[in-house]
């Protein structure tokens, strides 16, 4: 059919996608094995493997040894989000970024923080709250608990001039993390900071990374 003179894994990937979308291989059905497809496309099995691996990464097919490759019954919508540094996010909107540190103190964290981090309740932690502005309009309120033991040298950082968001991303390598989104009503103090009506809906991003946490509003 589609004689593509170039046997690139991309062209094979597209062709497989087409067959799945057009129900030539309906959901739940078994695809031919790699060797057969390689013969059909006139290429090496490795090339077919690359194309099919891409489909599996996208959540379109399920591949298992011995069982073969099967079109997923319920294709997973997989979304990739890039979480940039807040300053860059503001600047990408062609707005001027400004940052103000509101509070910096070493104290004990509330139980909900320590328990989520799996840390002893009596560990002293660094608590930072700050505001980010875009063109002088309140953009984001940052409320962050940091475990100093996990980030050597953090005591010496002057967070009046550098945002914690930015400093940590560049200076605290992390190996993993967790993120959650939610919505809540702003209490009076927060609403005032954001120059929003009391009780306004705010978008909340909760993050935990490695040994440090960073709840943001």
């Amino acid at each position: 059919m589609n004689e593509l003179e170039t046997t690139s894994w991309r062209s094979i990937h597209l062709e497989l996608l087409r067959r799945i979308n057009e129900r030539q291989w309906p959901p739940g059905s078994l695809l031919p094995n790699e060797a057969d497809l390689a013969a059909e496309f006139g290429c090496a099995r490795t090339t077919v493997n690359r194309a099919m691996r891409e489909l599996a990464d996208a959540g379109l097919v399920d591949r298992r040894r011995r069982a073969g490759t099967r079109v997923m019954l319920l294709p997973i919508s997989r979304v990739v989000l890039d979480i940039p540094i807040i300053r860059l996010e503001v600047e990408q909107r062609h707005a001027q970024w400004r940052y103000t540190l509101l509070e910096r103190q070493v104290c004990l964290a509330p139980g909900r923080i320590t328990s989520r981090l799996g840390i002893e309740r009596d560990t002293p932690m660094l608590h930072l709250t700050s505001m980010h502005f875009a063109d002088n309009h309140p953009f984001l309120h940052e409320d962050r608990w940091i475990n100093p033991a996990a980030v050597p040298g953090i005591e010496a950082v002057d967070f009046f001039t550098v945002s914690a968001n930015e400093w940590l991303i560049q200076n605290a390598p992390y190996t993993g993390g967790d993120i959650a989104f939610s919505a809540m009503n702003a209490d009076r103090a927060l609403a005032e900071l954001l120059a929003a009506p009391d009780g306004a809906a705010v978008f909340v991003v909760d993050r935990i990374t490695w040994n440090k946490t960073e709840p943001i509003t």
Copy 2:
């Protein structure tokens, strides 16, 4: 150093990760080229390539022909979200899922919908609103505009028994989409549906796929 008897791309991947995290290769620096690393690890260049491609996919390094592989100055936090079918999301929480169709009519969509879809304003569209429940508690309100021209056969579907969410995922293959999250205050009608106080903050997911849209609350 780390003599790993197994030269798998995974072990190389981990080793490269370690060197980046420990600042052996600081942000902005140039990594050795593939051939050199292959020699160091005693494996084929292909294997190193696989490991480094994984780093690039994760947004940790920037790879360019001739320019080499460079550690990103500002590592991108890349998050992958899986958007499941609502029924499965409820059932994963060990709750019982229930679904009710509130409204189904063919009518003209408001301008904000047609303009975002790039559709003529006088195109008749299918408008569905429905509720999803988890253990009889309101879980999610679904408000969806569908372009019937893009989904053949949709007129015949009985959305009283099948949720639009589920039917579309299984029957309307799409090639791309867009998604956005936000927060808003519920108006009185919505608050009532969700059995929440008037003005409560709700989490909003806005989706557009291919030729159909699906705003959800």
